[in-house]
Amino acid sequence: MPAVLRRLKRLGARGSHFGIVALFTVFAAFPFFWMVVTTFKRTPDLMNTKNNPFLFNQPPTLEHLRVLFFDTLYGRWLWNTAFVGVLVVAITLLLAVPAAYSLARLTGRGGEQLGIGIFLTYLVPPTILFIPLARVVSNLGLKDSLWSLILVYPSFTVPFCTWLLMGFFKAIPRDLEEAAMIDGYSRFGAFVKVVIPLSIAGILTVVIFSLTLVMQEFVYGMTFISFASQYTVSVGVPTFLVRGDVYFWGSLMAACFIASVPIAILYNFFVDRFIAGFTVGAVKG
């Protein structure tokens, strides 16, 4: 009898574990599932409260996708986002890689303090800075230009990426750089020839991280830009496609899904490294 009880208990524990995981997974993923479902439904099907929304009461359609790509600026916004993303990543790497190396190796004891200082600027949010920056951007003549975003976005990528990369560089044994210096390279040459090739994983992490942040950014984009053709995806969709009372839900959901999921899958591969950066060694190992 007790054996059966124990078995039941174990089954129960496994069942509740499964239940918890399933519940959370549904909570997290349901909106995205719903985006996909909505994308392929005909509008009259969506707009009928009598229909079961989980079923295709009318045959699926690609009409919403057609509208999205041919009748809206969505394609343009994707392009804008990619353009800003690539340039911001480039600027971030250009600023953060040397800075992180300098903090990790060349500035001695003060480097650690300075590194923490730089990291803390990551906590200064756009919601404090956007008002003065709006003024700065318009004085520079960059209002309504994608270049305003390219100028400002590194302000949230550089601090965190510097911090992340600092950790990576510190983990490389000093001996390797010294060996390179003896083998015929300058201090800087050792960094380029040995440290950078060994930090590819870290640099890739930073690239993905910066891309996600650029895709996520909303406040600056909305503040600096008011021409629909210059929006990025995360601003264009919620402000321009959601105008007035007529919502093109099918196209909207398609727009959201297409811009969300690919980057999320990429990000997934690097998530552990970001967490290590967030937790600053509050946990060892």
Partner: protein, 343 residues
Amino acid sequence: MAIVETRNIKKYFGDVPAVNGVDLSTEEGEFLVLLGPSGCGKTTLLRMIAGLEEPTSGEILIGGQVVNDLPPRARKIAMVFQSYALYPHMTVFKNIAFPLKAQSVPKETWQSKVEWAASMFGIEKLLHRKPRELSGGERQRVALARALVREPTVFLLDEPLSNLDAKLRTSAREELQQFQRRIGTTTIYVTHDQVEAMGLGDRIAVMNQGKVRQLGTPQEIYHEPADTFVAGFLGSPPMNLVEYDDTIVGFRPETFLPREVFGVQDDLVAFQFKVTRIEYLGADRLLYGFLGGKLADAHVISRLPSTVTASIQQGETYEFVVQAKDLKFFDKETGLRTGPRPL
């Protein structure tokens, strides 16, 4: 080949002297060992010669040229690190070719040069592997080949054998010595292991607290130590050091033997030795105990080779002797060697 010379070289980390005024000069093609306990400044000295640390004061000369202002790459040296510092993202071939690339040696000659260096250490078969696929001994050879390939005028080796297990270390030591004899390049070798130092070095510089305490051949260092530090650092167990008035008397455990070992003709100095503990080590017996008489209560050790069969019992007192020529005398204040004096 070149001579390395340091002139009153000093290095302070903050207020702490790591190297405190070292004058040292190698000879042409010599194998010089820097020996000392950890923290004695030997690695710092080597790193200054390599150009990885900047001296606080003093001059470093390589081949008669002051190199203080030259970066490491311009000093025509090669260095093997304790960790070997192989570039993990490159194959063995690329590791060895790396210095050639830096010197902009034409690419056509890489192959032959790398193969030559690899053949010196018998690692031709490993050229396509990555460092993580190699054993400790193989890594050490790759590091040596990489150092050799640029044909430096000086080799600097920082404890290159300390990451090998004990058995491998003996054969690696032998190979290293043969290799150095063959190419005849001046070599400076840092170690804290006195067996390595004695076995490898043409000369040994014993360092302590940032200073060279003695520079000499292994025989000189061992038999004629310049001060009490050197006397106490070398040998296992080290030299017995016994205070007597304003002097310190030193004698090696293996020269401190029972009276009956010697004939009458020898010039002997006799001691009363109370044995408190005996360790049997196979080839040797170690006797721990105290002296009597004038040198009462001084703690000393005797090492009896297994050829001495005298029966020794714990707790008994025996007459032990040292030949007069084996007694060394040091000044009590300075620790420096002084002339012989009667006991």
